[in-house]
């Protein structure tokens, strides 16, 4: 049984706590708050350290692997501090900031929870099973309220840059993007991949407060897959116009990502998400911003 430590907010610890019964071959043993006053009570009977730094200094015998799930800057700082412990780390999402850690001797799995969402897993399985044939066109619309968008423009872009690279199996060869002059929280990027693959992605962090919207289409030469919030809306009638309410995909993203981390440790293998993936996506995000600023086509520089 792998003993896990968690550094996070109360809210995130509650999300992990709800997954306790679904986790195989691992158990939570230590919790440290991302900020003072927060609690890991939801994780059950665990040792609560006074702070994130304290867990790294005083509690290292109480856990085998560390999960850091805080804001990107703190995650990167804590991951760097924890790297000297030679314990496996699941860190993030931390955007490109994790790339500075370089190649670690022990497992460092960057969190890319967007890959583990059930709809995205279904898309990936369809591609991997050959149902779609040669991948041709990826279309993503991701619209967020400002409070969900958070972070920098680069951080907004990174998840979909990663999805594009992951689904096409490599980095883009060329990058083109447009940013709305009227809405700096909106960007569209247009990627060209090998074998005439292409991706058209728009990210808007300017929806009014409330729900977000995500739609992903992948078209291959023998089929297509549509993962679309629009399709998964139900209706609520409470007077006036009906409201569309999206059916939840649950928290399989968190559970499956954590299980992959645990399994990679147990099987002493590389995780399916690597630091190279994060670096590649961060490099693409940087190229997207460069193209928007220069209004020129940027040749891809990220490694495959």
């Amino acid at each position: 049984m792998i003993r896990l430590a968690l550094i996070s907010s109360t809210e995130t610890s509650e999300a992990y706590g709800a997954l306790i019964t679904r986790l195989h071959r691992a158990v939570w043993t230590v919790y440290a708050p991302a900020n003072s006053g927060e609690s890991g009570q939801a994780l059950g009977k665990v040792t609560e350290a006074a702070s994130a730094d304290a867990i790294l200094a005083d509690q290292t015998d109480a856990f085998d692997a560390l999960v850091i799930d805080t804001d990107p800057a703190s995650t990167a700082r804590l991951a760097k501090a924890a790297s000297s412990l030679s314990k496996p780390i699941l860190a993030g999402p931390a955007g490109g900031k994790l790339g500075a850690l370089g190649q670690a001797d022990t497992l460092l799995m960057p969190a890319h929870p967007w890959r583990f969402i059930p709809s995205i897993q279904s898309v990936k399985r369809s591609i991997d099973a050959g149902k779609l044939g040669q991948a041709g066109l990826l279309r993503i619309h991701r619209w967020l309220p400002p409070d969900e968008g958070g972070g920098s423009l680069s951080e907004h872009i990174l998840p979909d840059a990663d999805l594009a690279c992951w689904l096409f199996g490599g980095a883009p060869k060329t990058v083109w993007s447009l940013q709305s002059a009227a809405n700096p929280d909106y960007i569209q990027f247009h990627l060209g991949f090998a074998n005439d693959g292409m991706a058209m992605i728009d990210v808007a962090a300017s929806l009014p407060s409330g729900g977000d919207y995500f739609s992903l289409t992948m078209i291959g030469d023998t089929g297509a897959v549509y993962a679309d919030d629009h399709h998964n809306m139900n209706l609520l009638y409470a007077g006036g116009q009906p409201n569309a309410i999206r059916t939840s995909q649950g928290r399989s993203d968190l559970a499956d990502q954590l299980q992959e981390f645990v399994d990679a440790i147990g099987e002493q293998r590389e995780a399916t998400v690597t630091l190279a993936d994060t670096s590649r996506a961060a490099a693409v995000a940087a190229q997207v911003i460069e193209s928007a600023q220069t209004k020129k086509v940027v040749e891809g520089r990220a490694g495959n």
Binding site: Q134, G136, L137, R139, H141, W143, T174, W176, L178, Q179, S180, A181, A182, N183, Y186, Q188, H190, G192, D196, M198, A199, M200, D202, A204, S206, L207, P208, Y213, S215, T217, I219, D221, T222, G223, A224, Y226, H230, K295, V297
Partner: protein, 371 residues
């Protein structure tokens, strides 16, 4: 203002592809088909199709366009020829003082589009380029945007995938086999109505169908595209590979007033969707966003022994053809502009040509404005 009770006499100038356009003219009570006409020097297959259509409607087929115009007291011409002849036939009709309805695409040459715009202006006639702007969901999108529900428009996107096959799949040509002849393939495609690209000049999906999604962009923004960046590929169909034209494309659009847009378009094959294809409009404004499925409203129909290629969801309440003809009648009655006039059609064609060039060069391309 014309007599609102007048029935307009229409001549069909060539009807060689899927014939929804002249059928829509015939179906509207304000219009009457009186003759089919074409040039005598056209090939036999053209004459055969013209004759067939004329016979169905019980009207004469005249192998002489000027003669038909002179002798049948026409008010308008309905042009449904090969794309490369659209503008020439339309200009000749306009120069004879006829109003014109023409099928899409406007032309295979921008210079021809410019010539048509000039003829329409010089002769002070009305012109309608066929489009889908009166589909129920498109009307809904227009109403939502115009109502200000999403605020000032910042971005607009159209996904336009036709899940139709187009002959043999890419990669199926055997060594030694000749490349597929575009015109022969399109003539063959008439049987299932997928011959929108009929003509001697091969056209990619951007050229054949781009008018529809770009028509939505123009309708909802009221703005022209100024610059494009496009990626194009031949991903699905051997005919497109052999004739060096796209069947899949993505286009970034920079519009007037700083609006950002995009278009994804493809003829993605029948396996890629249970119906005609995924067609959607997404728009982001200063107050929110809207997601519109062009297919709505629809009814799902499933039954034993259903043919595999029969659409499982049937579009309903589609009055696009009727409303386009209503729009045209209104223009003739009142002198107002049609929903997609020659100038708009020309500017959309210019966007398409710029996108094709961008796809070929890998660089952004300025859209050529009308001089």
């Amino acid at each position: 203002m014309a007599d609102p009770k007048k029935t307009f006499r229409a001549g069909v100038l060539s009807v060689v592809k899927h014939d929804y356009l002249p059928r829509a003219v015939a179906a509207h009570p304000r219009f009457k088909l009186v003759v089919v006409a074409d040039d005598a020097d056209q090939p036999d297959w053209v004459h055969e199709r013209n004759q067939l259509f004329a016979d169905e409607f019980g009207i004469p087929y005249v192998r002489d366009v000027p003669k038909a115009i002179a002798e049948y007291n026409l008010d308008l011409a309905a042009v449904s020829s090969e794309a490369e002849r659209h503008c020439d036939l339309a200009v000749r009709a306009a120069d004879a003082g006829l109003h014109v309805i023409a099928d899409k695409p406007m032309s295979t040459r921008l210079s021809e589009c410019d010539r048509l715009v000039e003829a329409v202006q010089r002769n002070d006639i009305k012109f309608l380029l066929w489009n889908r702007n009166y589909l129920p969901a498109v009307i809904q999108a227009k109403e939502a945007v115009q109502s200000g529900a999403i605020g000032e428009l910042h971005a607009i996107h159209v996904d336009f995938y036709f899940s139709k096959d187009a002959g043999p799949s890419k990669g199926t040509r055997q060594p030694g086999d000749p490349p597929i002849n575009w015109l022969e393939r399109q003539i063959e495609a008439h049987a299932d109505g997928s011959d929108g690209g009929v003509g001697n000049e091969a056209m990619g999906e951007l050229q054949i169908e781009g008018i529809y999604p770009l028509g939505y962009v123009q309708l909802l923004t009221g703005q022209n595209v100024q610059r494009v960046f496009a990626r194009t590929a031949t991903h699905f169909h051997q005919a497109n590979v052999d004739n060096h034209v796209d069947d899949l494309a993505t286009v970034s659009l920079e519009l007037e007033n700083g609006i950002v847009g995009s278009l994804c378009i493809g003829r993605i094959g029948a396996a890629g969707h249970p119906d005609i294809g995924e067609i959607k409009i997404h728009a982001v404004g200063s107050k929110g966003g809207i997601v519109i499925s062009e297919a709505r409203p629809e009814v799902s129909i499933h039954y034993r022994d259903q043919p595999p290629l029969e659409f499982k969801n049937e579009r309903i309440a589609n009055e696009n053809d009727f409303l386009l003809m209503d729009d045209f009648a209104r223009a003739l009655d009142t002198g107002c502009e049609t929903i997609l006039n020659a100038r708009i059609g020309r500017d959309i064609a210019a966007t398409v040509f710029a996108a094709v060039e961008s796809g070929n060069t890998g660089q952004p391309v300025e859209v050529t404005p009308l001089k």
